[in-house]
Symmetry: C2
Subunit: 331 residues, 2 copies
């Protein structure tokens, strides 16, 4: 981790270097790190012959997570949303870097945050190999690096007309958990709250679906918006079976029937995988995910006819930060 | 570039996807990008047998650059500070990702910002291959990837007692330029203002010094602080020759003699390289940098005696965001 110069020195202690060292400097647990935290750059040895999958996601307090969410959950969540992109392409996670922007340097908060982050690093076999700390509104950017054999990455663009659409796990957890949080729920064992604050990147599932799925995406913008990305990239349309959507347990009780369906269709922050599977691959895909203890639900089919059909109400697609129009373009 | 879900939809147009597409989607100019902007991950083909050098730096408005600085300069600067880390290890730049946090989506501002960013990409032979856009206080995180032959990266830890200390270019430009900006100077042709807002990452110099320099660092925290990092990593001390420091032209006129020296010693945001060179390598190093039109000034020597000597006044080392104590530890 490095620091960058600020024009406004702050007399508080401890200093940034000490703070970083205390909470974020850990020996790499896996091979491939030639020089880790502590120089101008991290030096890595990519696996010969593999492609490198890279993604970055920034989580802003008050936008992507509540400012007063438990620090340990925030630490988990900021890494999970980035790892979810590696899951979507079927890459094996290797390394991450963290850009931490802090309004204050609260030692207890940082310790809990680092615990949440590190626990998911450990489970995902990822090493934190660099980053920086700056002062400002609380926000965390995480760049993740994974590896995938050439030609085997799951892309949005590989789907064919007739391929069936499947989704892992259940839908609506992100919106349901947010509602539960807003209603005062604070128990992280609450399934909807856990889905929202402690999402589980589907890393094993993504890798298991390599060679089977024709296209894949993680549902971060909402099912309809992300299906739109697959349709756009693959130049297809889709027929959804609304009645087949696997709503998360407790979602209807939490949101009511109508809003539960809306959450499943348009709520972001799901971090489940939406995949297309040719008929011949469906049985094997179900079996591989069953071994992982993860459900795979058939929710529709892709067709050569443009547009998304089978959605009863006019549900707006996933939120955007700077507008509500939705071109369906992934850019 | 991807987006992440916000809980607060914003009715303004244009939408985020369109905005990203318009300003930041460009075809890669160089080989190695298998899948660029537009999927969950970027897929890259690292050069076989090379090590990957990675670094991230986040620049926050009002901390690292003035909020009202020209957007084109901000676009240049946020990339330059990250590339400077690749320069410091002598890596050849390849790819970058951008995390853009915006309080608003002003089309003109974004166009100018993208122009500044892209111009430096082009000159540095870097492709922008991914990123994300979120809503919040204006901040830009840039992750850069470079490549370096195994064992040839310039590290902070390689210096030996007796090696001489050299610095590229001139010192104090960062602080001098900030002062000029605060005094109302707005002409980017002003050399100090240019040093502050349009720093030039020493990429060619870093690569030219591979095989010659025993240690290197870019001066982002201030000369004394960054020399401290080399000393700590190499377990050495140093004797500085204060009179030899190459102050930037106009610095004394801008800051006065005392503050000019203080700026050269402790001002951050220099982005010059501080390198150690064994005697046998000095002539060749000077020649290689002379070819690049860059000066290399002898400013001291490393010794086995701990501590940094030769500094007349008690100059505080580089700023820290959360404290003023300085352990000298790079972590």
């Amino acid at each position: 981790m490095s620091s960058s110069a600020s024009k406004r020195p702050n007399p508080r202690r401890p200093g940034e270097f000490e703070l970083i060292a205390r909470h974020f400097t850990r020996k790499p647990r896996h091979p491939g790190v030639v020089v880790g935290v502590g120089d101008d750059c991290t030096l890595l040895s990519p696996t010969p012959g593999y492609q490198l999958a890279v993604s970055v996601d920034t989580s802003v307090a008050g936008v992507h997570f509540p400012l007063d969410a438990p620090a340990q959950a925030i630490g988990h969540r900021v890494l999970a949303v980035s790892l979810s992109d590696l899951a979507a392409v079927g890459a094996r996670p290797r390394w991450c870097l963290m850009s931490l922007t802090l309004s204050d340097a609260n030692d207890d908060w940082l310790a809990a945050f680092a615990r949440g982050f590190d626990a998911l690093c450990r489970r995902s076999q990822v090493d934190l190999v660099g980053g920086d700390v700056t002062k400002g509104q609380l926000a965390v950017g995480v760049t993740v690096h994974g590896e995938v054999p050439p030609g085997e990455a799951l892309l949005r663009s590989g789907a064919r007309a007739g391929d069936a659409l499947f989704v892992t796990g259940c839908l609506g957890g992100g919106q349901g958990g947010l509602k539960a949080w807003q209603a005062g729920e604070r128990d992280l064992a609450h399934p909807l709250l856990a889905a929202y604050l402690l999402p589980e990147p589907r890393l094993a599932a993504g890798q298991a679906l390599r060679g089977l799925a024709s296209a894949a995406i993680d549902i971060s913008d909402g099912l309809l918006a992300d299906l739109g990305h697959i349709c756009h990239a693959s130049q297809l349309g889709a027929e959804l079976d609304e009645a087949a959507l696997p709503l998360c347990e407790g979602l209807v009780e939490c949101l009511g029937e109508k809003d539960a369906m809306r959450a499943a269709l348009t709520g972001g922050d799901e971090y489940e995988l939406l995949v297309s599977l040719p008929k011949a691959a469906q049985k094997e895909a179900r079996e591989r995910l069953s071994v992982l203890g993860l459900s795979l639900t058939h929710i529709g089919v892709l067709s050569s006819r443009p547009g998304i059909r089978g959605v009863s109400a006019s549900h707006a697609p996933g939120w955007q930060h700077f507008g509500t129009d939705q071109s369906g373009e992934a850019s």
